[in-house]
């Protein structure tokens, strides 16, 4: 597996947010989802940079929606996780599970 195929922490978070939001995944909702679930403040620039990276890796795909007045007449870009993205997420989860396996007693030690 190439180095570029691994998912970084923020890439995983963004992918999971897109997956959770389903058809309503666009910049604002992704940002809100991440902030709500992780409790950390996120910049829209960081989200779009990650979304772009994921799109280049073909882990997500996007389509442009219709413009709305509250956005100053600007269109939304909706994202969805591709089959490759789901595979990459599953792989990351397995890697983390393997790394965590058996460590609970160690962590519980004072």
């Amino acid at each position: 597996m190439g180095k570029g195929e691994y998912l970084g922490e923020f890439e995983q978070i963004v992918l999971l947010a897109v997956l959770r939001l389903g058809k309503n995944a666009y910049g604002v909702t992704i940002l809100e989802e991440i902030e709500q679930r992780t409790g950390r403040s996120v910049m829209i620039g960081a989200v779009y940079a990650t979304l772009d990276r994921l799109e280049i890796k073909r882990y997500i795909s996007s389509r442009v929606g219709s413009p709305t007045p509250e956005r100053g007449g600007r269109a939304k870009r909706f994202f969805r996780v591709t089959a490759q993205g789901s595979v990459a997420l599953e792989r990351s989860r397995k890697i983390l599970q393997n790394m965590w396996a058996g460590l609970n007693p160690v962590l519980e030690e004072p």
């Binding site: 910049g27 809100e32 779009y48 709305t68 956005r71 600007r74 939304k76 870009r77």
Partner: protein, 177 residues
């Protein structure tokens, strides 16, 4: 967060004009509408009602600064960026891996971190780009000269007058004695 009483959606729900213009200038076509639209939506629907105008404006400016990474990511003309960076980064050092140029997209893996380091990196990068434009370079030199001359004048004036004031004080004390 508490709701600010001076919020008037009809007047103030628009993001700061200058910040928006900077963003529109910086962002490439691919993401311009999406990012500015998302920020406008967040600003008017979430940030202003919850934080108030002043903090919302600060928030917007922070978003603009952070969005600079997108400018480098999607820069329309990769050759311009490459030209400006050429000679300023030692490509033989580990930075080589960080600044990887991809066809169509200028700088793909610029290590913009979070916090002070990230901000300094963005600041340094913008400075390099500004220096790369001849008119801006001239403006920087003129500003520097004016700054040095101005501060020199102020300091010499202060020194001269401070001495006078000091001597006046001494004179008064002598008279009192």
């Amino acid at each position: 967060m508490s709701q600010n009483c001076d919020w008037n959606p009809s007047i103030s729900a628009k993001p700061p004009e200058i910040a928006q213009r900077i963003l529109l200038f910086l962002l490439p076509d691919q993401v311009r509408d999406n990012v500015t639209g998302d920020l406008s939506e967040l600003y008017s629907a979430v940030i202003v009602p919850s934080c108030g105008i002043a903090r919302a404006r600060l928030w917007y400016w922070r978003q603009v600064v952070c969005s600079m990474r997108l400018f480098f990511r999607f820069r329309k003309n990769p050759q311009t960026a490459l030209k400006l960076w050429k000679g300023r980064i030692d490509m033989s050092k580990p930075m080589r891996d960080a600044v990887t140029l991809h066809p169509g997209i200028s700088m793909h893996h610029i290590p913009v971190g979070s916090g002070v380091a990230g901000f300094l990196f963005v600041f340094a990068t913008v400075f390099i780009f500004v220096v790369g434009i001849p008119a801006m370079r001239g403006l920087l030199v003129i500003t520097g000269i004016v700054g040095i001359l101005g501060s020199g004048l102020v300091l010499s004036w202060h020194k001269r007058h401070a001495l006078k004031i000091q001597s006046l004080h001494l004179h008064e004390e002598k008279q009192k004695r």
